[in-house]
Symmetry: C4
Subunit: 141 residues, 4 copies
Amino acid sequence: MKRARRPAQPHAEGHRVWIIPDAYLPVLTAEDEAKRAAGRGYWSHESLCVINTGPKRASLTLTFYFEDRAPVKNIRVTVGAERTRHIRFDKPEELGGFEVPAGVPYALRVESDVPVVVQHSRLDTTQPNCASLSVMAHPIR
Amino acid sequence: MKRARRPAQPHAEGHRVWIIPDAYLPVLTAEDEAKRAAGRGYWSHESLCVINTGPKRASLTLTFYFEDRAPVKNIRVTVGAERTRHIRFDKPEELGGFEVPAGVPYALRVESDVPVVVQHSRLDTTQPNCASLSVMAHPIR
Amino acid sequence: MKRARRPAQPHAEGHRVWIIPDAYLPVLTAEDEAKRAAGRGYWSHESLCVINTGPKRASLTLTFYFEDRAPVKNIRVTVGAERTRHIRFDKPEELGGFEVPAGVPYALRVESDVPVVVQHSRLDTTQPNCASLSVMAHPIR
Amino acid sequence: MKRARRPAQPHAEGHRVWIIPDAYLPVLTAEDEAKRAAGRGYWSHESLCVINTGPKRASLTLTFYFEDRAPVKNIRVTVGAERTRHIRFDKPEELGGFEVPAGVPYALRVESDVPVVVQHSRLDTTQPNCASLSVMAHPIR
């Protein structure tokens, strides 16, 4: 007898703790600033991209680590059930008001109350054209 | 006695579920559109690259997750036995007619009936020169 | 009592089978060809980067998978003990004479007789400036 | 009864041994050299980005592997407790005086006395605009 295909129930997939060692928000150039003011075109930024495949909202706690000062802890963001969020690090309003310092090396730890998957990407337009990089975050548990 | 080297039988390697949090199809510029119409040169696109090292065809089901609406499920693609496919996300004909919305953050879940390996790459030509990024998808199981 | 630090004996680290789904050797432009002929400057290429941290030479067997034809198997390369090799895929002499076809999507499987670590990188100079991407290969076993 | 949220004690997360097969420090152009001398703008470099989430300082030992000569071992760097460091490979003063040779393929092994997470990034400005790539290092143990 052919087994009926079970309807795909959403369930949370991934890990609860993820780490990104190389984070860096480029300082905006004058041209970048003009684009940002107009809200059009590309300017340097980083995005923390999270996917929550599960049936309940994910509550994330971010920790920002620096080279020469204590970490900034407890920055909160949420990702809805069966939704993705690409959180822009150049927009404090997406980080509960926290302003990520530009031009400073930092690193990131993401902790979620449910399993998620996390990727980190950077677009750099400091020079006339853009350079981009992206890594899957490193899963801890 | 020297053991004879067994002939390499193809077998499926990898995982059945893979996730990509950072997907984004850039909006084409006028120059991109001209290249696309002519079918020559580079224009912005994403590719989902799958390899099936096994002896039977892989049937994949893609789910597209968005920031502000319900996921689009059950997009089907296949990858032949001992073949690779680099599926272009700017070509609906490679996704059973599904048009991936451009200029919108999304995320992706890939499920296969046999183990495969999945990588996701983006080429962005919004500015005069191209920027590229690529990640191995995150394996779930 | 402070325990003496043992001298670091070289030992092979990593995995024996690695997979890369997204491989693509860009077609050289006229400018690329001129640089290649002169042996100076950047032209599009891919590199398979292997590190062998162990005390004996690694013998690797590469399989090239395509979209529409049977895989090419048994391409052999070696990496010395405690050495790295960045194998250029635009140079048939580094692949036992095998010419990787340009302008064609393919994928790659690497098998080694001892554990190694494998990374795959691409430089694309099709447009006036370069775009680069790199991924750690996916370890199978 | 709702369980009190325990205060987050810093603890070391990640792995003690990490490997990067594709390392390459581009030769600086005349323009790069001028920027470097002025200490302003972008010039080609690599960064080894390490995060130490734990309560004690991490002592790292780097080994540099080459294609045609014995590895250079025992280069030491440290990363403070709850700190990140983005170690520039074009700056010998950040590597205990070791000068990473430019224009030469190499690979890298990182060993730490406590768990850390390691990412490796390259910026290449050999052509007029920059290209960047980044990978999470491969964890061994």
